[in-house]
């Protein structure tokens, strides 16, 4: 397994594969299928200061090789997440990346400050890009200035490294990435969902009660790969890549593009074992392609072969 070992700010990962936020709850459900110890890390569902009910239903719709969701940040709220979910997760030897959300900079700061004190929370993931929250989420995600301000405010209070989750719904993803890097982000996670919509044939109305929703799944992978490729060449902080990953081959494509680790979202709904399956298959895939360590693949699409052979295992 040591060929998969990966080190990122705040995170000592057995392997670079983890479930993406919002697609794995707080782990309880998937623990019915396999031990969560197998995972590199777990990105838990977005947490806000108070309990949130989120959007009306229907909240999901299917598209060609993808799905739309408009959950609307439903979560049990900071207190319950800290006192129940994170405590329950302590039984596993797996670092937690806490996805932090809010409707104001103050809310983000409050949640970040508190949740980053929990011992198994090894990093924060700033969810500045959720397209389903209307009270301001959108503005954070598409404006480099606000994103940087938010990043800085959270960095100031966080006990653990801060990863900023980028929205793909922007003209220039590199600008966003560089702005949050400069503001002190320790890493990036990307991409969140693309804003999309589906209309019902009979009623002509949106299938989602919320109207629009976030597009995820295999259909968005080419956009995600392009963005990781662009951003990884311009920033010096690591990237956790995601968007449509379903197989070990998909995960490898993200590493090639420049991600240091890979998250799996929608695919968990299709196959509850998808994360451990990818973790199992990755070493074989790497070996078959002549790699000795996963780190050799990172950014290989744009780095010279020579430049990547010194791996850290």
């Amino acid at each position: 397994m040591s060929m998969l070992k990966t080190t990122l700010p705040g995170l000592d990962l057995k392997n670079p594969i983890m479930p993406a936020s919002g697609c794995f709850g707080f782990g309880r459900e998937y623990a019915q299928f396999y031990s969560l110890d197998a995972l590199g890390a777990i990105m838990i569902k977005a947490t806000t200061a108070e309990t949130r009910f989120g959007n009306p239903t229907p909240r999901v719709a299917e598209t060609s090789a993808g799905m739309l969701n408009a959950i609307g940040l439903q979560n049990p709220g900071l207190e319950k997440v800290m006192n129940e979910e994170l405590v329950w997760l302590q039984q596993y030897d797996v670092p937690i990346i806490a996805n932090v959300a809010g409707a104001s900079i103050e809310e983000y700061v409050h949640v970040a400050k508190e949740i980053s004190t929990v011992s198994n929370v090894k990093a924060l993931e700033l969810n500045i890009s959720c397209p389903n929250v209307k009270e301001g989420g959108i503005a954070f995600g598409v404006d480099p200035v606000i994103a940087a301000r938010l990043t800085k405010a959270v960095k100031d209070v966080s006990n653990v490294p801060v990863y900023v989750k980028l929205s793909p719904n922007v003209s220039n993803i590199v600008d966003m990435a560089m702005a949050v890097e400069e503001a002190g982000a320790d890493g990036l996670t990307m991409i969140n969902t693309l804003l999309g919509m589906r209309l019902d044939l009979k009623t002509a109305q949106p299938v989602l009660a919320n109207g629009t929703g976030g597009l995820s799944g295999p259909s968005i992978k080419p956009v995600a790969i392009r963005m990781v490729y662009e951003v990884s060449q311009k920033v010096n902080i690591p990237i956790i890549g995601m968007g449509g990953v379903t197989t070990a081959e998909d995960a490898l494509e993200f590493l090639y593009a420049g991600a240091s680790a890979v998250a799996v979202g929608t695919a968990n709904f299709v196959d509850p074992y998808v994360c451990p399956t990818i973790i199992d298959e990755l070493p074989r895939l790497l070996t078959s392609l002549g790699y000795e360590h996963v780190s050799e693949c990172i950014g290989r699409s744009w780095k010279k072969r020579e430049a990547t052979v010194n791996h850290c295992s």
């Binding site: 998937y30 108070e50 009910f53 090789a65 799905m67 969701n69 295999p218 709904f269 196959d271």
Partner: protein
């Protein structure tokens, strides 16, 4: 205990022009116990369609490790499902959720089972289990028209069975509530599954006896992880239930319809 299995198709047959009965075999059946639970089915190995489809368990046969589903072939997923043939295998996740509570009713008492359209199937296993327990069952089943009626004979074999059709082409013209109002059944517990407007009508009109209802919602994970399928407990609180894992069966009033 939720299992994931490639189950074998034992048989598939059309019940109406667009409703099919599909029987699957596999070890997963051993874990099925409550009537009203469902399975989450992946109809294709690739991404078209991407998501699983939730379908109720209509009958459980532990002896042969088989169970039956009854579903309407309508959209992309169920249409593909209808093409499956004996000998092929299907990716099933289940059994999921909580079913109808059998312990709310005792031998000798009477259960009123009210189903609408494609909500009828889970009532079949429920009815069988109630009968096994010595409970009397009355079935009131609503359909659009004569051509949509299925399983009348099967339900009749278990107890009194009334059919309502919206267009009056068979049985009583009208809704299940038309039958219930006409017949003035005396019963102890009502169990129901069907479209939300029907469940609402039942919840509003028949308040003097316990009522259990099975809900439907579009699902992502089907196991409680994604928050796709929630419903509120009441209008003025953020408290909620997940239909896939807390339900799909709830007591009337437990959640907001």
């Amino acid at each position: 205990m939720i299992k994931h299995e490639m189950m074998q198709v034992v048989s598939q047959r059309p019940l109406t022009h667009n409703v099919y009965e599909l029987t699957l075999q596999g070890e997963l059946v051993r874990f099925m116990n409550e009537p009203g639970q469902f399975v989450h089915i992946r109809v294709n190995n690739d991404y078209l369609p991407l998501l699983r489809r939730p379908i109720s368990i209509a009958e459980i046969d532990q002896t042969h490790e088989q169970f039956t589903m009854i579903y309407r072939a309508e959209g992309a997923g169920t249409s593909l499902l209808a093409e499956k043939q004996a000998g092929q295998s299907i990716d099933v996740l289940g059994p999921l959720g909580h079913g109808f509570p059998l312990d709310t009713i005792e031998a000798g008492q009477t259960a009123l089972l009210v189903g609408g359209g494609i909500g009828v199937p889970p009532l079949y296993e429920l009815s069988k289990r109630l009968r096994e327990k010595g409970v009397q069952v009355i079935h009131v089943l609503g359909f659009q028209s004569k051509a949509d009626v299925f399983y009348e004979r099967e339900f009749l074999a278990l107890g009194e069975t009334y059919i309502a059709t919206v267009d009056g082409s068979y049985g009583t013209k009208g809704f299940v509530t038309t039958v219930i109002d006409e017949q003035q059944f005396s019963y102890d517990v009502m169990f129901s599954c069907g479209p939300t407007p029907m469940l609402k009508a039942l919840e509003n009109n028949y308040t003097n006896k316990p009522l259990y209802i099975s809900l439907e919602e579009r699902m992502g994970c089907g196991i409680g992880a994604c928050f796709a399928c929630v419903c509120r407990e009441s209008e003025d609180s953020t408290a909620y239930k997940k239909i896939c894992s807390d339900g799909p069966v709830f007591q009337a009033g437990e959640v907001l319809l």
